[in-house]
Amino acid sequence: MEDSGRKWDRCVSDSAVKTVLGLGVGALFSVLFFKRRSWPIAFGAGMGLGMAYSNCQHDFKSPYLLHGHMVKVTHTHTQS
């Protein structure tokens, strides 16, 4: 029951951090490479938000994610 709350907390914090970082990196790039256009900032922010969203979703999905394992059957020689 507490997992949910914690998950949400992580989610929000993670998204905030990533958005801001994205913003920052976008701003940096816009300043350095793209002649102070606005689109890299939006791009960076969006990327950050998207990453945060994806992370959050993955975190929430994690109990339901199936990890398939390939089991190699080794042919053992038995007397039968």
Binding site: M1, A45, L49, C56, F60, P63, Y64
Partner: protein
Amino acid sequence: MLRVCWKGANAAARNCLCGKVPVHPLQHCRRYTSAGNSGSAAGKIVAASILTVGGGLGGTILYAKWDPKFRANVEKSVPYSDQLFEMALGPPPPPFIPMQKKPVKAEPLQISSVSEASKDSKQPKAKSKAKEKQPEPAPVDPKPAVEEAPALPPQTIEEASAEAAHIISAMSEVQSVPAPGTSNEAVPAESEAQTSTVAAEECHECASHEPAVKERPGEEVAARLAQQDKAEQDALAALSFNLEDTLGFSAKLTLQAIGAQEAALTAIGTHTHRLREAMDSEDPPDKKSAQWRELEDALSERTRAVDQAGQSLLQAKEQLEKLRVVINGAKESKIEAARPQILAAEENLHSMIVDLDKVVTKVQAAQTEAKIVSQYSELVNEAKVQFQKELSSITPEVQANWKGLTGKLSADDLNSLIAHAHRRIDQLNRELAEQRVREQIRIEAALEQQKHEHQRAVDSAVDKAIQHNHEQLRLEQEKKMQEVREVMEAEMRTQLRRQAAAHTDHLRDVLKVQEQELREEAQEALSSKMMEQETQHRRLAQEQLDSFTLDMNSAYARLKGMEEAIDSHVVAEEEARKAHQLWLSVEALNYTLKTAAADAPTEPLEGAVRTIKESCAENEFAQALATALPDESLTRGVYSEASLRARFYGVRRLARRVALIDETRNSLYQYFLSYLQSILLFEKEQEAPPTKLAAQDLDTFKLLAYATYSIERGDLELAAKFVNQLHGESRRVAQDWLKEARLTLETKQVVSLLSAYANAVGLGTTQAP
């Protein structure tokens, strides 16, 4: 920039929305369309199959209606088709049952007689399969043996059984219902008549009860027989009397006739003799006249005798005729006992006839002889007269007695006489010659005549002799038959005597056997009664003994019981102590359970459980229960119900919020949607759970409502059950709570069991005051 970001986010969200939402409807549509396409094809297939099946069924029913054998086959092979057929066509047609007549074990005589009848009558049978199979009856011998009876075809056996049953019912002493075979009215009276006529010799009993079979009781039959006998006797007596009478009379008459004939014979004889004498003798005239007178007497005598003889002969013949008639009548009456008499009478008759005939022939012979003699005498007389006349004509003067005139005659007379004599001699010689010749002729004619007459006489004599012989033979045959009959009678009597002897022997044997059997029975009865008495006596003695031992045993048992009671008392006290201890320890456990504070678990139950285990070391049930407590409760303790209840609401809230999340739909957007749903969905917080959970009740909200209701009512178990039905994220969220609830419930269950057990033990060991 923020607006741009926001627009981008919205666009992204809308894309997600557009991408996500149509999933389900599309799935549904796909399902619908595929269902639609397959639906029409399936419909066609279904229609075609229905048509085929219906057609086959209808055809089967119609054919079964037409052909009952096919119907029977189908009914046999297909289980419930007979009901279907009965519904559609009505009951099946009645099966073809041939007339089963039980072949009656009839007596051999009847079967043989009946087989004759069936051979003769040749009656058709309506519904006889046997007749179809064997068209003509096997040829039956006129006098079949018993072994041949099974060889008869079934129809004749049926017939035989019918006839035999008929006859048996007719013959039995008791008034019985005629056997079922007799109801077959194809047996008319004529066949019965045929039976009786054809098999009269073989079936004596049949013959005695004539065609129109009507039962007569035994006494009537005996009376009738007696009557018949008496009538016979009377008739016999009358007949014999009659016979004797006529016989006597006819004998008398015959004797009379014979006597008369003989008298006539003698008369004729004397007459003839006299006549001859008279002819031949040369006596003086007076003697001659005397002779002639005597001759006349004899002649009259003879005529008289002959007449008398004729009369008596007529009478005798009449009487003999009468006798013959009477004998024939007696023969026709067919009385057995009169046979010898009849035979004797016939013999007598025959002998009398023979005698009469003999005598008659004698008389006839005598008469012919007499005729001859008389003719001769006439001739002689005639010649004499002639000569006399001639002599008188030649010598007219000399009359009658010319012999005394020899001296008186002259020489002329003598010469003329001599000449006359010579002439006469010549004439006579000529006459003689002529006569000789004529004689020859006459003799021949006479011989011829004689031959004819002789022939006739011979024929008549032969006929008479043949008749007499015939009669004689017949009489002899009758006599022989009579003898043979007597012999047979005697033999039959001996055989019957033998049979009677055998019968008596058999009776003796049977009686002996019966005596033996009865003796054995009596012995058995006696021994059984003795045994009964003995067993009874023994039983009484045993009872006495048993009762005494019972008393002794009961006294001993009571003593023992008392000792045991005392022992068990001790044991019970011990038990009570133990139970008390157990109960105390269980109470301690209960108390520890109550130490749960809000939101904190109880103390670990380890200590209490240990004391329990110590207190009931030998009690397996308690030990098992004590070990059944979950480890968590022992180490950590359990939460109280109240804390669980409080926590439940938080769990409920969370579960509602994540109601839409499961394995398939668990993106962040779904989380938002489910949160929205939980806010917008209004429903009762508590809802009474139904007795049976249906599929639609497995909705999260419903389940939570039921669980809330249950937990408010204090039913943690039911609430846990409902919470257990959650799926997906809601379940995960409630998992902790569920685990805790389970623990609590388990512990509580075990503890309650233990306390119940302790209570029970305590109750068991408590002494009632």
